[in-house]
């Protein structure tokens, strides 16, 4: 890479300006100021990210993909901490190049010397090429590609191309960590110098069918319908192409003997090039096994030993809002963020596997950050839950309470799956109070909110004195 001669005065000015910007945005109370310092620093010195990232002795790792970026990045951060590696992170939601720049600038002293040894960034799919071109990436991990916000990115294959165009900016020994069980993600490995694959081998988790929402069930290379030996969720599973030599690549990091333990967590055996270890994760669902696998692979590629990985994962509590338990007087509220049909299905499956979820509040908003179009609710497999109820696998379950700006749509969806609807209360605060009261003391209320509904519920819980505001996290 060719770069301009280093200009220390300019770098100094950029770092100083960024710090003042942060101070100003804090004083004005304009949120956490997590991208503004980046915008300001880049305006003063467009080369600031390149220069600062080069000074990190261990280089940087970037995590991208549709689902699980935040949780996976937090897991890696915990692993690095356990191993005694000082890493600098961008904050959640600040995952464009400005957010990455801000994190590095604020980690540096006025002379541009970083306090950390390594950079660890979650990066929005579309921003990967820009971050890879400027930051000194040693590792790039691609978790999965699901249809999430089609308006933003257009088609999945295109997103794949955008991400793989960044591979050439990695050094020759740089690792591209890829989910082997997602065919489109696995196919990106062909353009990587050093692809490293992870995946799950657990026949018991085969759902036996591609979900209605499956995004890429055709071979990404030749278009033939893929043959699946196991479908774990969406289009993720064990597959090969009948029409060409493409198939699931050989795994370097593998999870087997996966045991879902309801809403409490999951156990599995992690096999890596460096050995094998048992992992207990206090986060529910198969999707978190994938997050943990990706985190283990990235950390191991960065040189961290398996004992640190397994210990850190065992102690990991989860990222804000994704999965969270809140003590609500003599009851408990268990918050599980809903992002899209795949995540919703996984949450339902986890409930079905356990009969814990007897009291459920579903909160669907259609603000911009939730997605204004709620037709995706019809892609969620509520019929699976109706089957479980019929078979008596959810003993003692009470009817669902629904809330949010689209409470009525949710009620219709449940009606057409023959599931019982209790109260329909569009007002979130009122619905939460009603649902908590209806939950017997000692039991747990499961709250399934979309993004902005989650923020409102957090706020209400906090006003009721049940939790700490999330920015203290």
């Amino acid at each position: 890479m060719v770069s301009k001669p280093f200009d220390s005065a300019r770098l100094f000015a950029a770092v100083a300006a960024a710090r003042m910007a942060r101070l100003a945005s804090r004083t004005l109370g304009r949120g956490g100021g997590s991208t503004v310092p980046g915008v300001v620093a880049r305006r003063v010195d467009p080369g600031v990210l390149t220069e600062l990232s080069r000074r990190l002795p261990l280089g940087s790792a970037a995590i991208t993909g549709t689902n699980g970026k935040t949780t996976t990045t937090r897991m890696i951060s915990r692993i690095l901490q356990t191993a005694g590696v000082r890493a600098v992170n961008n904050s959640t939601g600040a995952n464009l190049v400005t957010g990455v720049t801000a994190a590095l600038v604020l980690d540096s002293d006025l002379f541009g010397e970083p306090a950390s040894e390594m950079g660890l960034f979650e990066v929005d799919e579309a921003s990967v090429p820009k971050v890879a071109a400027e930051a000194d990436l040693q590792i790039l991990a691609v978790l999965n590609l699901f249809r999430d916000q089609l308006d933003r990115y257009g088609e999945l294959a295109y997103t794949g191309k955008v991400i793989s165009s960044a591979f050439e900016d990695l050094p020759e020994n740089g690792s591209v960590v890829l989910n082997a069980d997602d065919p489109l993600v696995a196919s990106l490995g062909r353009s990587a110098g050093k692809p490293v694959y992870y995946g799950v081998d657990e026949p018991a988790l085969d759902t036996g069918r591609l979900q209605h929402i499956a995004d890429s069930k055709d071979c990404p290379l030749c278009g033939t319908a893929l043959h699946y030996d196991a479908v774990y969720m969406g289009h993720v599973g064990v597959y090969d192409c009948p029409g060409c030599p493409f198939g699931r690549p050989v795994l370097a990091y593998r999870a087997s003997r996966v045991r879902l333990d309801g809403a409490r967590g999951v156990d599995f055996v992690l096999q890596a090039p460096g050995g094998e270890t048992e992992v207990r994760l206090n986060l529910p669902g198969l999707y978190n096994v994938y997050n943990a696998l990706a985190a283990a692979a990235v950390a191991a590629e960065a040189g961290v030993g398996l004992e640190h990985i397994s210990r850190a994962l065992r102690e990991f509590g989860g990222a804000f809002g994704r999965v969270e338990r809140v003590k609500a007087g003599d009851r408990e509220a268990f918050l599980l963020l809903i992002k899209n049909p795949v995540g919703f299905n996984e949450i339902l499956r986890t409930f079905v596997a356990s009969d814990d979820a007897r009291h459920v509040l579903i909160a669907i908003n259609d603000n911009h950050a939730d997605g204004r179009d709620v037709s995706w609710l019809w892609d969620v497999d509520f019929e699976m839950l109706a089957d479980a109820r019929l078979e008596g696998r959810t003993k003692g379950a009470s009817p669902f309470t629904v809330t949010g700006t689209r409470a009525e749509d949710m009620a219709v969806r449940l009606k057409y799956a023959d599931l019982p609807v209790g109260a329909v209360i569009p007002d979130l605060e009122e619905a939460l109070k009603t649902a908590l009261e209806a939950t017997p003391p000692g039991e747990t209320l499961y709250v399934l909110p979309t993004y902005t509904a989650m923020l409102e519920i957090r706020k209400t819980l906090s006003e009721l004195g049940y939790t700490h505001p999330f920015w203290e996290d």
Binding site: H212, W378, E408, R413
Partner: protein
């Protein structure tokens, strides 16, 4: 008497919750004790009408749309045309609706020929134009009873559809863009074939339309057939909630 729902390209054109339309028809049959079967019709598979049929043709991504065009150019397209001319019941949504016209032009300038059931064509979004996205309220006049009714839904399309002289619009967009954001029309109707940009959960919140499609299909076998009324309170509340929001911005 059994109603067969033929879900065209169910495995490819499943964008935006089109499955909701299938579930709506299926459940409203089951609740009334009318036997119902859903048949997925994929690429290269023929349409096999049973006499009491409802054909659903949903939306898809551009890449998938291109694959379908070849499939529709042969016997399947001809069969679909014959079905419509014979009064068969067809609902095309978004991408499916576009392919029921003469042609659909992609943003790259490629003209994909459609089935030609409707006298209409679809032009691509120009570089300075936005995608047409948002909640929609449409006024629809039923040829069966000449009554004006309303439907709500969500639209999200780049293509602009223009109707020819040989086809009626499904209705007029009271709120939202409709066919092209210019002439106030939404969708198309010819005989018992319907096309619309209102996707995904079109039928769940508009149960009268679901029932009309079902009745049109069932009456092809028994012209005195009547549908038992159902309790649509939940659907009505969901309709009103969206309708009130879009009316008041």
């Amino acid at each position: 008497m059994k109603l067969t729902i033929h879900h065209l390209y169910a495995d490819m054109m499943n964008l935006y919750g089109d499955r909701g339309n299938v579930i709506s028809i299926k459940k409203r049959c089951e609740w009334r004790g009318i036997p119902v079967e859903v048949v997925d019709v994929g690429l290269g598979e023929p349409i096999k009408p049973t006499g009491c049929d409802l054909f659903l043709f949903g939306g898809g991504q551009d890449r998938e749309q291109t694959l379908l065009v070849e499939d529709l150019a042969g016997k399947k397209g001809a069969d679909l045309r014959a079905i419509v001319e014979d009064g068969g019941v067809v609902l095309g949504v978004c991408g499916g609706y576009q392919l029921m016209g003469h042609y659909y032009e992609t943003p790259e300038g490629e003209k994909l020929p459609g089935v030609g059931v409707f006298d209409l064509h679809t032009e691509p979004r120009k570089p300075d134009e936005e995608r047409l996205i948002g909640n929609v309220l449409v006024r629809v006049r039923g040829p069966e009873d000449d009554r004006w009714r309303e439907i709500v839904g969500f639209e999200n399309h780049g293509g602009r559809t223009y109707l020819g002289a040989g086809v009626e619009p499904l209705g007029e967009a009271v709120v939202g863009f409709g066919n092209n954001g210019k002439d106030g029309t939404e969708g198309a109707r010819r005989l018992n074939a319907y096309g619309t940009y209102l996707h995904g959960s079109l039928l769940p919140k508009n149960p009268w339309l679901t029932d009309q499609l079902m009745l049109n299909a069932l009456r092809r076998v028994d012209d005195a057939f009547e549908l038992e009324p159902l309790d649509d309170a939940a659907e009505r509340v969901a309709f009103e909630s969206v309708a009130n929001r879009v009316r008041h911005g």
